[in-house]
């Protein structure tokens, strides 16, 4: 990694080590790789064979490749013959994935590339609710705890439609 020189990362991150680059002789910082036990990402679609197309813009694919095990939730399953990555999307082979779960609107209240945007209204509600412990608990029981998948979906679709940001 370039750029950690003379920053205070040197003082607080003992795992960032300075070594000599064997090729150039320059002093350079190296950082250990992150190896998550699990990666859980939400993707756009899968085919029947468990191959996936996910957002290219975040490091979702990289997280799956780095992790020991990976779960991918997807908006939908499409026939392998119609399975393509559009701009902003990237192919991720079933080879790297342990489990694919069909979860429409699974990124709500976040965005899913080419499917729906951020649910701003909900995020704002969450932000003001989470300012206090009580507010956060109320938000949690209103939207998450004790909700069935169907109830949450109905709620998420309603919010997305209200926001005018449906697919």
């Amino acid at each position: 990694m370039l750029g950690f020189a003379d920053s205070d990362y040197e003082k607080v991150r003992a795992d960032f080590r300075q070594v000599e680059d064997p090729y150039t002789g320059w002093k350079i910082f190296v950082v250990p790789p992150i190896v998550p036990d699990w990666a859980v990402i939400h993707a756009i679609r899968a085919d029947e064979n468990g191959n996936v197309v996910c957002s290219a813009l975040e490091s979702d694919r990289l997280a799956v490749l780095a992790a020991k095990r990976a779960v991918v939730t997807v908006e939908e399953i499409v026939p392998a013959g119609e399975f393509v990555a559009r701009p902003g999307e990237v192919f991720l082979s079933a080879l790297h994935i342990d489990l694919v779960v069909i979860a429409p609107r699974g990124a709500h209240p976040g965005a899913c590339v080419n499917a729906y945007g951020i649910d701003r209204g909900h995020i704002e509600k969450y932000l003001s609710a989470s300012k206090t412990e009580e507010g956060f608990s109320a938000w949690l029981s209103e939207t998450v705890l004790g909700k069935t998948e169907e109830e949450y979906l109905a709620f998420a679709f309603q919010e997305l439609n209200l926001a005018g940001k449906g697919a």
Partner: protein, 257 residues
């Protein structure tokens, strides 16, 4: 705890808003035939770069994160890799603290182990500050809490004398009161211009490190054509920053009334 935000600027402007004035100043830093990138949380730099792209930098290459203007396959990873390879010419950064020597703090206010405020973090700014040819800093407020003698935590170092192969670093600082120039030899900021209506005394009082020289020119104001061009770019800005674009249009509307 009050800070002078850009809405409360003492700027004397006619025919444009402070945001447009600052965006125009940023546009002046963009050069033709270069690679320029704008990251996240940067509506004013984005507006400035969109202006430059449509005026004096038509041959430039632009990576505007989240705008859809320049599709890239891998988002921010592609920006970081481009900079690491030494191919990024201009980038924009800000900081919760910016110190006399040009260091940035995006990590924490107070001690690292017991911070008063934990900030979101550097997100690659240490590397971008080091590997981009020119980095222009911008802030939307100007106070002694931001412009400090020494950052509580140095997330991104402005100069690294023991690493002679550093590619670039800070060149300019654009604030709601003034512009500063980074003196790479002295490794500190020098006052470059004061915005219209701002006195030296005011800028000095709001800056937590010595500000010199005392006598500098007034920052250039955008022409009517430039203001028109900035406004013509707002629809593109809106794709990335709908809330900011809406607020800006409201302020523009109240200018003419």
């Amino acid at each position: 705890m009050r800070e002078r935000g850009h809405e409360a600027m003492p700027l004397l402007l006619s025919g444009c808003t402070p945001d447009e004035f600052l965006a125009y100043r940023i546009s002046r830093e963009v050069r033709d035939f270069e690679r320029t990138a704008v990251g996240t949380l940067s509506p004013v730099p984005l507006l400035g770069v969109l202006h430059a792209q449509a005026s004096h930098a038509r041959h430039g290459k632009f990576l505007l994160l989240g705008s859809g203007e320049t599709p890239v396959t891998e988002g921010s990873k592609e920006l970081f890799d481009l900079a690491q390879r030494g191919k990024l010419d201009l980038f924009f950064l800000s900081g919760a603290q910016i110190d006399r020597k040009g260091n940035l703090n995006l990590t924490c206010i107070g001690p690292y182990d017991a911070p008063k405020v934990r900030l979101p973090g550097g997100a690659g700014s240490a590397m971008l500050y080091y590997m981009t040819r020119r980095v222009v800093l911008f802030t939307l407020a100007h106070s002694p809490r931001i412009f400090v003698e020494r950052c509580d935590f140095v997330t991104s170092a402005a100069s690294t004398p023991q690493y002679p192969w550093r590619r670039g670093g800070p060149t300019r600082l654009v604030t709601p009161l003034c512009t500063m120039e980074y003196d790479a030899r002295g490794q500190e900021w020098r006052l470059l211009s004061l915005h219209p209506g701002v006195t030296y005394e005011e800028a000095r009082r709001e800056t937590g490190f010595p500000l010199l020289p005392e006598s500098v020119p007034v920052t250039e104001t955008p022409s009517a054509d430039d203001v028109a061009l900035l406004r013509a770019r707002i629809p593109v800005l809106r794709n990335s920053y709908p809330v900011f674009a809406q607020a800006l249009e409201t302020r523009i509307g109240s200018l003419s009334s």
